[in-house]
């Protein structure tokens, strides 16, 4: 059958699903990844590699907990280093999933149906990675729970004025809602797997997960409402999370942090990197698991367009930041601009501009948007660029603030790198497991995309 996933330029939009499918074929094709296909060598190799990298993180954490945060490059004045940079970066990546699932659902973008499932999974794992760092970066990680809202033995509560407490609430809420959203979305598919699975214990497991779902119309009705409401709630939530994260900086008085542009600019950046990560995952997945029928060029192209758009919002953020530094006329703010352009970290600032502003402009060309390989590279580039952006914001703002006598430098240590790269291993390892154990594409939602399903509505 003709490969419909590649569209000739000039041809109209690709379909969201290749024709020639019916309820059954969809079901078989997707469920077979989990149930029928044997574990491939590629999968095992890939998983092992990630797992090894993961061990590096564990080594770093062990050292960290034994010796203290001094094993990192942090110091006075640069109290926050890689830990916070990575936290913000991962949280940002974690935005695409919920965004795709929730916002696109509300916007009735039916093409989302085939990518939302693993986008949500990606969100969860990214949030998990992000969630580790605030705990690691504490001087006394074993008392992290003191940030939770409960009175200690003296009847003393956390300080609700601190953005870090807001973080606790925002991130944990986001994690919970995303998890629920993801699970609820999978219940009907679990039911499907329950029926298809032939091994008894597998039936049993998926049966438990399916909660006894039986596709009753009444259930569907409540299910759809709940799902829609969840999407409606998740939408402001996903926007709020990075807003709150940006408050960690915007509330501070550090020049380069203390600015009102941060919330929208952080959210845009989050979506930017989020979609980049979606593509970095989607492009290989659809290739190796032959899902071109469901993740079509349409999805890829749309994601690319979203990146282009958000990329420009981010660009606006940079421009406005620089403008306000100058326009504000403040001695210290003014120096932020100078220091970024001429300071010791200038190279990385220019690298950031190249990665986030310059290179992605090729996305204007449809030929590029439709070329999976190039797109993959650009997505990688954007991920790096967004990491650099966080590095510039956190470290470069801190290293020269108000009193010249307290200017300093930050040098990441091996442990900084070990833990950062380790989380990449953790993330990808989780994705490997997910692909193998859970329906990576929403089966029942794909069914609704079939012509015969559409037909009902037009009676």
């Amino acid at each position: 059958m003709k490969d419909l996933t590649q569209v000739e330029p000039g041809e109209q939009k690709a379909p969201v699903m290749a024709p020639g499918h019916n309820y059954g074929t969809i079901t078989d094709k997707i469920s077979s990844i989990v149930l029928k296909k044997p574990v491939s060598k590629g999968w095992i190799l890939g998983f092992l590699v990630c797992f090894v990298i993961l061990q590096w993180m564990l080594y770093g954490i062990t050292l960290l907990f034994f010796k203290g945060v001094g094993v990192w490059g942090v110091n006075i004045p640069i109290g926050w280093g890689f830990a916070i940079v990575n936290f913000v970066w991962w949280i940002g990546i974690g935005h695409a999933g919920t965004l795709i699932s929730a916002i696109l659902l509300l916007l009735r973008q039916s093409w989302r149906n085939s990518i939302n499932r693993f986008a949500e999974a990606m969100t969860l794992f990214a949030v998990a990675c992000a969630g580790m760092f605030p705990i690691f970066h504490l001087g006394r990680p074993w008392v992290f729970y003191w940030l939770f809202p409960y009175p200690n033995t003296m009847g003393y509560w956390p300080n609700f004025r601190s953005p870090l407490v807001w973080d606790v609430f925002a991130v944990s809420t986001y994690g919970t809602i995303s998890l629920v959203f993801w699970y609820v979305g999978m219940i009907p598919d679990f039911a499907t797997l329950r029926e298809i699975a032939d091994k008894k214990w597998i039936k049993y497991v998926y049966g438990m997960l399916a909660l006894g779902w039986r596709n009753s119309a009444r259930h569907w009705s409540r299910y759809e409402t709940a799902y829609l409401l969840l999407a409606g709630l998740a939408t402001p939530l996903v926007l709020s999370v990075h807003t709150v994260v940006s408050f960690d900086f915007a509330i501070g008085i550090v020049p380069g942090w203390h600015t009102t542009i941060f919330p929208p600019y952080f959210v845009a950046g989050a979506i930017y990197s989020g979609f980049a990560m979606v593509l970095v995952l989607a492009i290989p997945i659809r290739k190796f698991y032959h899902l071109e029928d469901f993740i079509t060029a349409r999805h890829i192209e749309n994601s690319a367009m979203v990146m282009l758009a958000t990329g420009w919002i981010v660009a606006y953020g940079y421009a406005f930041e620089a403008f306000m530094n100058w326009y504000g006329g403040d001695v210290y703010e003014g120096f932020v601009r100078f220091n970024r352009l001429h300071g010791p970290y200038a190279f990385w600032y220019f690298a950031l501009l190249t990665c986030n502003l310059l290179i992605p402009q090729v996305l204007w060309f449809r030929r590029v948007r439709l070329n999976n390989f190039v797109l993959f590279l650009i997505s990688m580039d954007i991920l790096i660029g967004m990491w650099l952006e966080r590095f510039i914001i956190v470290v470069v703002s801190l290293h020269r603030d108000f009193l010249n006598s307290s200017f300093g430098m930050y040098y990441p240590t091996q442990i900084d790198w070990a833990i950062f790269i380790g989380t990449l291993g953790f993330f990808t390892a989780c994705m490997f497991l997910f692909m193998r154990l859970l329906p990576s594409i929403s089966i029942f939602e794909l069914r609704t995309l079939l012509p015969e399903a559409e037909a009902v509505k037009h009676e």
């Binding site: 004025r161 039986r214 939602e445 009902v456």
Partner: protein, 178 residues
């Protein structure tokens, strides 16, 4: 006549259109203790069997309101009554700072109550259901459509109901043992 050993009758259909039409006719025929089953959500289907209000939205609203007000009141109480502290010269009741947590809690409680409300009202989790005894019913998770008329229905009579179902031209009809 009613057979205590039978839970209801299950008619199987091939397409969405068919099942929707059949559902409408069943409801029109006066059957009320009925349900329809489809591999994916079909709004027309639950409309057809006369299921209009599912009650999830009010639960969600209630949960959200509780979460929000609760969060704000807690912060207000802590900072002005329970343990007021001078933090950086800010007033005890720094309401702008309290909005964030309030918002997050609204979302959290709203979302969770929507989901758990849905599950509870659906009577889930429910690992066993008589329908699972019908082998053909497994198809509902793949590509089959069903209509069930339960023995508990006032109008239900094994023979009459079976004849009525025949008039809907189902793919098959099976009895659901209790």
């Amino acid at each position: 006549m009613k057979d205590p050993k039978i839970y209801g009758l299950l008619a199987e259909f091939d397409t969405a259109e068919a099942v929707v039409e059949a559902a409408q006719r069943t409801y029109a025929a006066g059957y009320r203790k009925i349900d329809a089953y489809s591999p994916f959500p079909i709004e027309e289907l639950w409309e057809a069997i006369g299921f209009h209000k599912n009650g999830v939205a009010p639960v969600c609203l209630l949960g959200g309101l509780l979460g929000g007000t609760g969060a704000y009141l807690l912060q207000w109480w802590i900072n002005t009554i329970s343990y007021p502290v001078n933090i950086g010269g800010r007033p005890f009741h720094s309401w702008p700072a309290f909005i964030i947590v309030t918002f997050e809690m609204t979302i959290l409680f709203g979302g969770l109550s929507a989901v758990f409300g849905m599950l509870v009202m659906n009577g889930l989790p429910q690992p066993y259901h008589p329908l699972f005894n019908v082998d053909r019913f497994a198809g509902v998770t793949r590509d089959r459509f069903f209509i069930a008329i339960f023995a508990s229905d006032a109008k239900y009579d094994l023979l009459e109901t079976r004849e009525f179902l025949q008039t809907l031209h189902p793919h098959s009809i099976s009895e659901v043992p209790t």
